[in-house]
Symmetry: C2
Subunit: 330 residues, 2 copies
DNA sequence: GGGCAGGATTGGATCGTTCAAGTTTCTGGA
DNA sequence: TCCAGAAACTTGAACGATCCAATCCTGCCC
């Protein structure tokens, strides 16, 4: 069993001091080219890797970022987080950071977990998902000066902190415009109850596009919690109207899926467009608004590393554009 | 800004030595009850948390386990890993371990990543997924004595290392038996090409159940790579036979989905059963064999922590039973 | 040839914890 | 009362990296 390779082993092998090896790693420009090369060779030959623990102890930085992994609720939307997570891990790796997971059942516990992670692992930063109005988590982190980025806007104050988001309103606007272009006028909306930032945003895109086209949206929409059965019920209600919508835009693929089933059973098929471009949508040929999740994750890492390198700078938020993925249903 | 709380701060506050505080944390039984309580109070009062980095430096253990996060391939099967990951993180947390993610595009790079993670972060262990015949990763880890558990059997030698798996054959057997009980005789199979451990296992369950019922399986099966379109094509072929199957069992929900569409378009609907109980299956009412993923993840953590506590013991592998989730399609 | 400036290199101290070994306190039996 | 032995607690050293301050070159100019 070969003994452990430390910075001292490398130094001895390259016939320099520990500090020189450290400089080669952390400040290569101050080391003479020839020396630098000799050290690099020794590092490669010995397979040396700097102990993150020792480095962290001295510098206080762990090169670790944390993300919460949520329980897959209805299973359909779970894949969104999954894709985001993958992008995040990949980009973070490229930037020299590693990703750590944690779970939390509610926000208070999540804050307790922050405390834990910061205290025990000296985490460098957090990426938060699923933020909402008056989120206590961002306040807690900001109070303590902990670097973090949210995937999702701080709906109360857009300058409150660093964020990355996808323009949901633009997505539903594109979906609505697509249906208008196909000749539809009475385009319905099935979404979530008012009050959630994401839901209101998506609804706004449909609303303003319809009004701009001179259509009165009243009576054309229903609000409910997320779910396939709920979507089906709402669609049934809308289609039972004397002047029913001839096409539907939904706040999620779950709702759209339900709507699709309602439309199939009540009469002639009508166009339905969902949101999130989940695997289910792809499997069923459901037209859906797709979020650039890989991109979003990459921008989160970019922002976070920028904050870590230069803690003072206030960084501009990032708003990405979604894209309508056309399939059979519209 | 409060200064950092270390073990020394706690020691001063409780009027004991550093070591006693350390003992309270790591070997409470050797500390007198009264002292123990005093130290615990000081810890709580100061909000002290042991620095994992410092601890790791001394002990060489990081209380960190790593899992690979795969790119969501066709998106349907992605959710399987997602659910597994969530269970893993949760159970690991309860056992005092944290989960770290990494990505890798191929097995050689994955091994390079092991080296990196072990060298830099002193990872305690790995959980591998998607193992197959002659997997170089397990050999590499075993050679170096790195603790690991695989989710998936080592198909070449069941005693090669510690593993947790779900009995796929039992799942397809249950599906086949269910169809037999419903009066079907000619039950078809759509699966993956021979050679993959998982695929062969699932196929075997269908095969042996059919034979046990006195039905000749020849001509009733098709093999293809995974995918909806592929499933549809295979189902078409089978149904075009002069004596077509009256029901289908598939190796995955993707294949089953394709088969379902083929059945819908070629004639009267026939029962179809998939595998993995993915969100897509739930959304479509597809009967499917569900894996106890949360359980599997928990057992992986159990085994891994057991190995970490007692490196010598050869631990018995775990084979979990899947469950048939009945829905509309069968 | 000597002195000097500037950059490259060196040794020592340090981060917060646990291990090993040493010291004090307590307990019980003669 | 005294002492052995155990139990409880304390002290110094070490893990492997980085930071700091001091020293050593090297080349250059007078």
């Amino acid at each position: 069993m070969a003994e452990k390779v430390t910075i001292a082993t490398v130094a001895r092998h390259a016939q320099v001091s520990r500090q020189t090896v450290s400089n080669v790693l952390n400040a290569p420009h101050i080391v003479r080219e020839e020396t630098r090369q000799r050290v690099q060779e020794a590092i490669a030959a010995l397979g040396y890797r700097a102990s993150q623990a020792a480095r962290q102890m001295r510098t206080g930085r762990s090169r670790l970022i944390a993300v919460r992994i949520e329980p897959t609720r209805d299973g359909i939307n779970g894949s969104v987080l999954d894709r985001f997570l993958h992008g995040l891990t990949e980009t973070a790796e490229a930037a020299g950071y590693r990703t750590m997971l944690y779970t939390a059942t509610d926000r208070q516990r999540e804050i307790a977990t922050y405390d834990d992670l910061l205290g025990a692992y000296d985490l460098d930063g957090f990426v938060l998902t699923a933020t909402d109005h008056g989120d206590p988590r961002t306040a807690w982190l900001a109070d303590r000066g902990v670097p973090f980025v949210t995937f999702g806007r701080p709906w109360d104050d857009l300058d409150a902190h660093c964020w990355v988001d996808v323009d949901g309103a633009a997505g539903t606007a594109a979906a609505t415009a697509h249906l208008l272009a196909a000749g539809h006028r009475r385009i319905g909306w099935i979404g979530w109850p008012a009050g959630s930032g994401v839901g209101d945003d998506r609804r706004a895109g449909w609303h303003r596009t319809l009004r701009a086209a001179g259509v009165d949206p009243s009576g054309l929409h229903r609000e409910t919690v997320d779910g396939i059965a709920e979507g089906e019920r709402c669609a049934r209600e809308l289609l039972a109207d004397p002047a029913p919508p001839t096409a539907l835009v939904c706040a999620s693929d779950s709702l759209a899926l339900g709507a699709l089933q309602a439309a199939r059973t009540t009469g002639p098929a009508i166009p339905v467009i969902g949101f999130d471009d989940t695997p289910v949508a792809a499997a069923l040929g459901l037209t859906s608004v797709g979020q650039p999740l890989g991109d979003a994750a990459a921008r989160c890492v970019d922002l976070l590393t920028a904050v870590l390198d230069e803690p003072r700078r206030g960084l501009a938020p990032v708003l990405l554009q979604p894209a309508l993925v056309l399939r059979r249903t519209a």
